[in-house]
Structures are given as structure tokens and as C-alpha cells.
Symmetry: C2
Subunit: 370 residues, 2 copies
């Protein structure tokens, strides 16, 4: 855990959308900058599947965060003007309560006894932190990837929850191709004999399932065009060449990425969060997307997508932008020509920084922040 992590212990039950509840729960988060006197300069970042709340370094924790070039003093999301909050999602394993947390009723980890997690529950728990911090309305909601889904759910639950909205490489619902990729990742993990119905431990870890699920993830996070340029058909000599694999650089790249991941994330948290994305459709129970978002009040929205993204395809981000526009919210949409696929917002900073910087400068001006 980052030494900059703050915790909110909520001593009241959290009722889950699909049923079940937690008697109490903890939310882990970090902040940058200062909340101003009228609590009007708060920016909430909701994350993708795997990040912690440690979006960027700070005096309390100088280690680089997962969005280091984007968050902090003098950076595009500028801590000199804004009070920035980055949350670890409910259901994750980086400080917030999730399947790896201890169930107070049994003294053991929840694992598969954790209630069925929905994106809407992640949003509910995030709102609890914002209330706790004394923020009635966010200045800006920021949601990349899964965080954009959580942000849409948050705004649906709290139509006046934010004045500005930046969503990046996200979607209003999971489509079949993305469901298929995530479903297979989950199958890889839970069918590893070491997963053992959730009863793994440090000595019996579903290593193989986690490794292969991460490789499949990488296939969906990057693009064929990037790898063509980056790896061509170069051979690898980093790992021993194994039977039926590990001949080419692309294979050793995936292997190295997978090995870094295996023990860095709880397998149950992974499958719970993954499934919550498949279940998500912000228009569930509404006639269409416009109706689902109709109540949301925003002064502005900025939607960024990447044309090579196969996991959150850009037409879904265009759908968000078109719908917000049609609902009379001043919305700008940019399709970025990055080769880096879904991960571009974490990798292709030269394209993303100017756009995020520009949007936050515009917000600062509109809000007359010092």
C-alpha cells in the first residue's frame, strides 16, 4: 500500500445492486492539492480494472503512480488549482474492501462469499467517500476505461454529482466481443486447479491462470499495428525457448508482462471486477441511452477515444458523446490516432497530455479558479 493512502471506514451496511450486502467497508484513496473553502475544486478519478488509488507521486509517497505524467502540481490535472481524489474501486485489492478482504463475520477472506459486484456498487461506494470529504458536487469527474463506466453510474445515481466530465476509452455498456475476451480470462483463472473454488493461498496460487489471463488481456489492451512496428518478427532470447512457444519478441514481451502481474492482483478481485464490466449497461431499464443519461446535469463533457481500441471500441465513446450532446450538454469528442489501443491513455502521453491539459485549463477558466 502506498504510504500516501488514506482510508475511510464506513460503519454502515452497503447494499449491493444484485442483492447481498457488506456490514461495513473500507475505501482507500489518495489526494493531491487542497480543497478550497467552498469545496468547489474537487476532481474525482475513478480507475480502470487494476490500478490502486496511487495515481501519482506526492511528498508522502514519491514513487511514481499509474498516471504519473497526468496528475499533480503543474501537470494536466493540476494540483495547484484542483483538489484531486483517486480511489481504489470497491471490489479491488489495493486497500478498499473486496473479495480478498477479511470478512468480519468469519475472520477469513471473503473470496467467493463476497456479494456479486456491479459497477453501480463501485459508484455507490465512491460517492460515500466524496460525501465524507464534504464535497456536495464534484467540479470534475474523470473516468478512463472501467472508471468511465463507474463514472456514468455515479452520474446516473447523482445527476448533479459533477459539473464537468472527462471520459476516456470507456463505454456505456459491454459489447459481445469485450464480454467474450473477459469471459475467457475469467475461465482461465477459475479453471486453474490452484484457484480451487477461491481457496488458493500464497503457496497455491492460480499462477498459470493469472499468467494466461493477463496475456489475453494484453492482446486486448494494445493493437496489432503497434506490435507490427514494435516487434516485427524479431526473435527473442530472453526466456528459454519452450516447446511450442517463446520464439519471438512479442512472446517474451507478453510473458514478462504476465509474470509481473500474477502476484500483483488478487484473482478473486480480478474476476469480480471483470464480471462487473460485462454486466454493465447504463441503459438497463431505460428505453435507450439518451433516456438513461437524460437526468444528468453537466456544464461540459469531454470524450476521448482511440481508433485502435478493440476492447472499448471508439464507436462506443462516440455514442456517449453524441448522447450527451443530444441531451444539451456541451460536449467535445476526439478520436485519437494512437497505435497503442486501449492502453493509449497510459502510454501515448504525447497525444493525451495536450487534450487533458486543454480541458482542465478550460474548466479552471469557466470555474474562475485561482
Amino acid at each position: 500500500m502506498s504510504s500516501a493512502t488514506r482510508f475511510l471506514h464506513v460503519d454502515e451496511p452497503l447494499l449491493f445492486k444484485r442483492g447481498g450486502s457488506l456490514p461495513s467497508y473500507t475505501m482507500a484513496y489518495e489526494t493531491w492539492g487542497e480543497l478550497n473553502a467552498d469545496a468547489s475544486n474537487a476532481v474525482l478519478i475513478l480507475t480502470g480494472l487494476s490500478p490502486s488509488g496511487h495515481a501519482a507521486s506526492s511528498p508522502a509517497d514519491p514513487s511514481p503512480g499509474w498516471w504519473e505524467p497526468m496528475v499533480g502540481s503543474g501537470k494536466p490535472i493540476n494540483a495547484d488549482h484542483f483538489y484531486i481524489i483517486s480511489l481504489n474501486s470497491l471490489g479491488s485489492c489495493k486497500g478498499s474492501t473486496g473479495p480478498a478482504s477479511t470478512n468480519p463475520e468469519t475472520g477469513k477472506p471473503y473470496r467467493l462469499d463476497f456479494p456479486e459486484l456491479s459497477i453501480e456498487d463501485i459508484a455507490t461506494a465512491a460517492h460515500k467517500v466524496i460525501q465524507h470529504l464534504g464535497i456536495e458536487q464534484l467540479c470534475t469527474m474523470v473516468g478512463p476505461s472501467m472508471g468511465g463506466m463507474s463514472a456514468l453510474a455515479y452520474l446516473q445515481q447523482n445527476p448533479q454529482g459533477a459539473r464537468h466530465f472527462l471520459t476516456i476509452s470507456s463505454s456505456p455498456c459491454s459489447e459481445p466481443f469485450s464480454i467474450a475476451i473477459r469471459s475467457l480470462q475469467r475461465e482461465l483463472i477459475v479453471s486453474d486447479p490452484a484457484f480451487n473454488g477461491g481457496n488458493y493461498d500464497d503457496d497455491n496460487w492460480p499462477e498459470n491462470g493469472m499468467r494466461m489471463a493477463r496475456k489475453l488481456g494484453m492482446l486486448s489492451y494494445r493493437s496489432a499495428a503497434e506490435w507490427r512496428t514494435r516487434f516485427e518478427r524479431k526473435e527473442q532470447n530472453y526466456f528459454p525457448t519452450e516447446l511450442f512457444g517463446m520464439n519471438y519478441e512479442v512472446e517474451s514481451y507478453l510473458e514478462a508482462a504476465a509474470r509481473r502481474f500474477i502476484y500483483s492482483f488478487d484473482p478473486c478481485s480480478y474476476v469480480y471486477l471483470s464480471r462487473s464490466m460485462d454486466w454493465f449497461d447504463v441503459a438497463d431499464g431505460y428505453p435507450d441511452l439518451a433516456a438513461a443519461l437524460a437526468a444528468i446535469e453537466l456544464r461540459s463533457a469531454r470524450v476521448l477515444g482511440v481508433e485502435t481500441d478493440i476492447l472499448f471500441p471508439v464507436h462506443q465513446q462516440r455514442a456517449i458523446a453524441d448522447t450527451l450532446s443530444a441531451n444539451n450538454i456541451q460536449t467535445a469528442f476526439t478520436e485519437l490516432p494512437s497505435l497503442m489501443g486501449h492502453d493509449a491513455f497510459l502510454a501515448d502521453y504525447k497525444l493525451f497530455i495536450p487534450l487533458v491539459e486543454d480541458y482542465f485549463r478550460q474548466i479552471k477558466d469557466e470555474e474562475s479558479l485561482p
Copy 2:
């Protein structure tokens, strides 16, 4: 095995490109139509990874073949004019010698003792069948998918091997994204404990590895756009809803496709053929693709690709077409707007039939066949 299958037993060694050899081997194939007096009307179809030689029905075997609408009397590849040969690839498990065949030296299946298989070996064995049939030069070589790789290798080995060439959804080499997909499929199979270093049997079959490899295959054979239209977010009720999966129709579709496949193909054959594709680069040892194909003599070539193909991306087929054109071969290239991805040549017949029919009518005229 189809009752129409014919076998060629070759009682001489086959030396493999990467070393190793078979003391003798068998090739399984089927034919349609009659070879004419000067053996000038032969069409050879080299297949993708999994098909047998049973491309279409015939009086000897009326069951539908894997390319039923395309091959036979009155069909686009017309058995009324052409003598059509469809081969099971060397290394496969549908009658031709492969890892599942009995090693005459041990009396047991080769499994991992089978020599390292290259696409070039598949081509060498295919040429042996053509020689045996008394055909000096093919009228037309046809290669979809992996078969197009085998066809390029065949023509490189036999520059006057054919007068006409139809290649569909294939490529001159494997690119990193395709390698990554196939590498992960192989890892899924060989890391299944039941694979057991190739020592599986009917009661201990790497079911789980084969199932998940097939699902990953399906992800690469179809397209997100097709599934969006076909499945939307429809829920499934065909299979019991399992933990962390099987909620949506796309998941039950993949599960059903995977179950059909598990026992229909030998796991060792699968990983051998898969790896041979990754190794393939027709330009290996040449300065570039043009030099690699320079010696090939053809009267015409027809290259078909599909814009939604992520496994054999259409720019690779354009590269084949451009190179053949630059080498002064009369070549036509069509990029088909099918949603069905790599599998379109097996599924989207309304787009493919007119083009294949047209090319074979043109060949028949040029060749003055009756």
C-alpha cells in the same frame, strides 16, 4: 475419415526443413471431376489449420464438406471442367501423417517425437501427391488461410508449379499479433495438466486447454462487428450460468463451438500446425518479398481478403497482390466488406461465390477447357 478419402503411401523419407525426418508417410486426399488427357485441368486446394481433405460431398461420400458451396459439379470450382484435389495437410490428423500417427519405429503415436513441422514441409508433401497423380503443372493452386501460406511455399519450391493462383485471407508471414494469439492457444493446450507432455489418451484428454484454445481461436476468426449485430447483449439460457461466466449469448456460442472442437482434433497436431504458421515467412533468406516470389511464374493470380480479418489482416493480402503485380504477374485484388472476419470464406458465401466463380470462369476460358 470420409469414405471418399484416398491415400498415398510414400515409402521414402521426408526430410524436414528444420531437421529430422519421417522414414515414410501417408497423405490423405479427395478428388472431384476427371483429370483430362494432358493433365492440364488440375486444381489443388491446400487447407487452413483444421479441415480434412473432405472439401465437398461426392457420390462416394454425400456428407457435406468444409467448403461445400464452393467445390463440385456446377459450383464455383467446377468439377465439370476441373480435376479438383483437396489434401489433408502433413502434420494434421485427418488421414495424413502427423503427430497422432503411429511411429513405425516404436509402434506408438509420434506425439512430441514428430519432427518440427514447417509450412514448407506441408508444401513438400503436397507436391509429392501431385507428382503421384501424374500432374506436372497445376492449372490452379487454391490456398485459403494457412493453405495460402502452404501455397506460397509450394510455388516458391516449384516456381512453375501452377499457372493460376487463388489465395484467400492468407499472408506471406505471421505478424506479432497473430503470433501472440497462436502462442497463447498453444500455451493453453500444453499447460493443461492432462496434456502431460503429449502423453494424453482418450480418458485423459486436455479438454480444458482445447476448449479455451478454441474460444481464443473463435475470437480471432470472427469480428466484433459481427457479434455486435448477432448477439448484442442478449442473455443465454442454454448452458447453466456458471460463476463468473455464461451470462450472455456470445458466451454460450463460444462454449458450444469449443465443445464441438475438443475431441475433433488431435492436440499435438494442433500445436504443431499452429507453430508452423508462426515460423512461416516466405521472405526468409531473401532481401524482401518481391525477391522471395521473383522466380514464381503464373499466368494470373487472384487475391481475396476481408477488411474485418484480425488474424490474417488484409494489408498482408494486399502485400501479396502488390508483389505479384510488381513481378509482372497479372493480379487482381479484392478487399471484401464482410463482417465475418477471417472465417468469411467459410461463412459469407454470398460475397465469395461470385468472385471465385468469376475467376474460375476466366481460367476456363483462358485455358480453353471444354
